[in-house]
């Protein structure tokens, strides 16, 4: 009898246990408006950070339909990032990464002003990292939480002077994790040693970002920055060889999925910058589950033949059943495609 009762109690506890493990959606960690967090002072659209909210950038950037991005990091008071040997950081709970996506009205003339589209927050909650998208209002005075995402008409004049119109997509809460995922857990992508290890133009002058963070007492255990790796800025012709720049571009745009432990692993294609196996990078690798994404081509990469390489075919497409990445892109990243084409053209020569 007592045994039965014990079992019954255990079973009664089960739903509670499950609720504790999986339920209570982490959306509870979000505030309804961006201003509720108090990251900025003055007119919020100007993004003047309050003390403790530090601007930064990353050397190689994810392409997001030519949107420009402002990035900030906010650590809880008196807490530090712990440097990890693999080049990532251990973030204290309640760390926040802030990223605002915006478009200048005219990429050739910044005086014409900009339009803020969305601000994404990554918050290191007691349940791990969670991502929340905030969409800016028309008046540019506030951004509101939109967990189910949103579509917005966007227009700008590009570097070539052409008017571009398209429908921009703010990701939903689930899509945030679609990219920021490793072994089922959400992780930040940008703030890694190799993407931060370069100078940033601070109000009080230029300085290496990691050194600055060290001076500000934001990092523990950081070795000398000269000994640390650095990913080139693929847009900067001087920053590395064609191969180094192309691998940097592919790493930041593809490897969040195409990496062991991430959803793109089903394909057997691994595009992280550390990968050295030619087949796993895609060289003469047949597709596995590409469907019409294969474009009638046999291999991900055919050295010297970019036009026969599935990688280029999928980068050049905007058809949702073909294009890569699957999300966050409505336009073709022309300059990126050119760089990867050059890399493939020169391969093995």
């Amino acid at each position: 009898m007592s045994r039965l009762l014990g079992k019954a109690n255990y079973l009664a506890l089960l739903p509670l246990l499950i609720a504790l493990l999986f339920g209570g959606s982490p959306i509870k960690y979000a505030k309804p408006k961006l201003s509720d967090y108090g990251f900025f002072e003055g007119h919020m659209a100007n993004h003047n950070p309050v003390p403790g909210v530090i601007p930064y950038d990353v050397s190689a950037k994810l392409f997001s339909d030519y949107a420009l991005k402002s990035r900030f990091i906010a650590l809880p008071k008196d807490q530090q990032l712990a440097y990890q040997k693999d080049g990532t950081f251990n973030f204290p709970q309640e760390s926040v990464l802030i990223k605002t996506f915006y478009y200048p009205k005219n990429f050739r003339n910044s005086d014409q002003g900009s339009r803020l589209i969305e601000t994404r927050l990554l918050i290191n909650s007691p349940e791990g990292w969670v991502g929340f998208p905030y969409v800016w209002n028309f008046e540019q005075t506030e951004a509101y939480l939109e967990i189910a995402g949103k579509r917005l008409d966007v227009s700008f004049i590009d570097q070539a002077g052409q008017s571009i119109y398209f429908e921009y997509s703010v990701p939903n809460f689930n899509q945030c994790k679609g990219c920021h995922v490793n072994q089922n857990r959400m992780i930040p992508i940008g703030p890694k040693v190799r993407l931060l290890n370069h100078d940033f133009d601070y109000d009080d002058g230029k300085m290496n970002q990691l050194e600055k963070w060290n001076v500000l007492d934001m990092i523990s255990g950081l070795p000398s920055v000269s000994s640390l790796p650095h990913t080139p800025d693929y847009n900067d012709l001087e920053s590395g060889s064609i191969e180094e720049r192309a691998r940097a571009l592919i790493d930041i745009n593809c490897a969040h999925c195409h990496r062991l432990g991430a959803p793109g692993e089903t394909s057997g294609l691994f595009l992280n910058i550390e990968e050295t196996d030619p087949t796993r990078i895609g060289i003469h690798k047949p597709p596995v589950a590409a469907g019409r994404g294969s474009g009638n081509l046999d291999y991900t990469i055919v050295p010297q033949y970019p036009d026969q390489s599935i990688m280029i075919y999928r980068m050049e497409s905007t058809d949702p059943g073909i294009m890569m990445p699957e999300l966050g892109r409505k336009l073709v990243h022309k300059e990126g495609v050119e760089l990867v084409k050059k890399w493939i053209q020169e391969m093995g020569k």
């Binding site: 739903p15 499950i18 999986f22 189910a148 809460f173 959803p263 469907g291 019409r292 059943g321």
Partner: protein
């Protein structure tokens, strides 16, 4: 049926998927609902997604402009999908990944424009999952596989219907699968059991394919070239590629014009193997108590294997075709018993393909006695 509802439920459904709590049932209302972007479920447990019925609640992605799938479910536990249809997605219809416990019941994945290479690759598509049940469901028109389970373990696929796909049902790099009482017809290939290289889950096994009706899988192969399934010859009933520990029994395999049942190694694909952990051979494959029938007629001639069979056998292609590539490291061979008067050929590709013309002058072995493996299979097997 209610009228066409433009996107009105898209945001509502997606919001419910995001806010769902364990034990919730989320209802897909009756009607034809146009959806523009992938609907996603991430990190949830114990959810039921239920429509009014398979033909009354329809999510149409014909205007999809975002995301590669219709529905995407990841990192979840115990999810049941029941009683609805997903139509015309740009990529896969319903993809499930990293999920333990997924049930498809009375769910249809469909491309409504007939078989076309612009259709999405997979219909019902669990990959890297545990404990998969797909039953009473339907897939029509997938340009790769209609019902596809890949890199997964503990799988039941039963009472389903698949037609107008390249592959009707496919189990790939998966373990402990039972595929039974399905009707797979008018695909390029009816039921495919594959192990492929370069994948994260390397090896499948312990697969039972029984009591299925596999007929008239003679559809042209409309898979986009480059995909491995694009190599499947039209007229394939059951095909076992590079797998071991597979039992195919009590199936009715009718009028598949080229290869009623094929047991072949990965060498038949003529792809180079770079994966050092991959085993390209078949071994421990058992084919017994099946019924084969095939009206006389030529195999598909657009493929090398079809030409070869036509030259050797004319209008009477054998029912069971083996490439002779037994795994040298595995003592369990191919076992064939009690398939009525099914005819057999061993292509012996290791010895017969040294010169391009040699297969045409060689005599393939039609002797089944080396494959009468001693152990009698029971005439009826226990169905769980």
């Amino acid at each position: 049926m209610a009228g066409v509802l433009f996107a009105s439920i898209e945001k509502n459904l997606q919001t419910q998927f995001i806010l769902a709590e364990p034990g919730d049932t989320i209802t897909i209302p009756e009607g034809l609902h146009l959806i523009r972007g992938t609907l996603s479920i991430e990190g949830k447990s114990d959810l039921v997604i239920r429509g009014k019925s398979i033909d009354q609640s329809i999510l149409s992605f014909s205007n999809q402009d975002e995301g590669a799938q219709g529905i995407s479910i990841t990192n979840s536990i115990n999810i049941t999908l029941e009683g609805f249809t997903v139509q015309d997605t740009k990529g896969d219809a319903i993809k499930i990944q990293y999920t333990d416990g997924i049930i498809f019941r009375h769910v249809k994945a469909e491309w409504t424009g007939g078989p076309k290479k612009t259709n999405g690759a997979y219909g019902l598509y669990p990959v890297q999952c545990q404990n998969v049940l797909i039953e009473n469901s339907v897939s029509i028109g997938a340009s790769d596989a209609g019902i596809y389970v890949g890199q997964s373990n503990n799988i039941v696929v039963r009472y389903n219907t698949a037609y107008d796909n390249v592959a009707g049902i496919e189990i790939e790099n998966s373990n402990n699968a039972e595929v039974y009482e399905n009707h797979s017809y008018h695909n390029t290939g009816g039921i495919l059991i594959f192990d492929l290289p370069d994948l994260v889950q390397k090896k499948g096994g312990n697969i039972r394919v029984f009591n299925n009706l596999v007929e008239s899988n003679n559809l042209f192969n409309f898979a986009p070239p480059g995909n491995i399934v694009g190599k499947v010859i039209p007229g394939t009933g059951v095909l076992i590629l590079a797998c071991s520990n597979v039992h195919v029994y009590q199936n009715t395999i009718l009028n598949n014009k080229s290869v009623g049942t094929g047991v072949v190694s990965y060498f038949m694909t003529e792809e180079t193997i770079k994966d050092s952990l991959y085993n390209p051979y078949t071994a421990d494959v058992h084919i017994y108590n099946n019924t084969f029938d095939r009206s006389p007629g030529l195999p598909e001639l657009g493929y090398d294997i079809g030409k070869l069979l036509a030259v050797k056998y004319g209008r009477n292609t054998p029912d069971i075709i083996y490439d002779g590539m037994q795994d040298p490291e595995n003592s369990a061979g191919l076992c064939i018993q009690n398939n009525d008067d099914a005819r057999f050929t061993d292509l012996d590709i290791e010895h017969n393909f040294e010169e391009w013309y040699s297969p045409f002058i060689s005599n393939f072995s039609e002797d089944m006695s080396p494959h009468n493996c001693g152990r009698e299979h029971p005439l009826t097997s226990s169905v769980k």
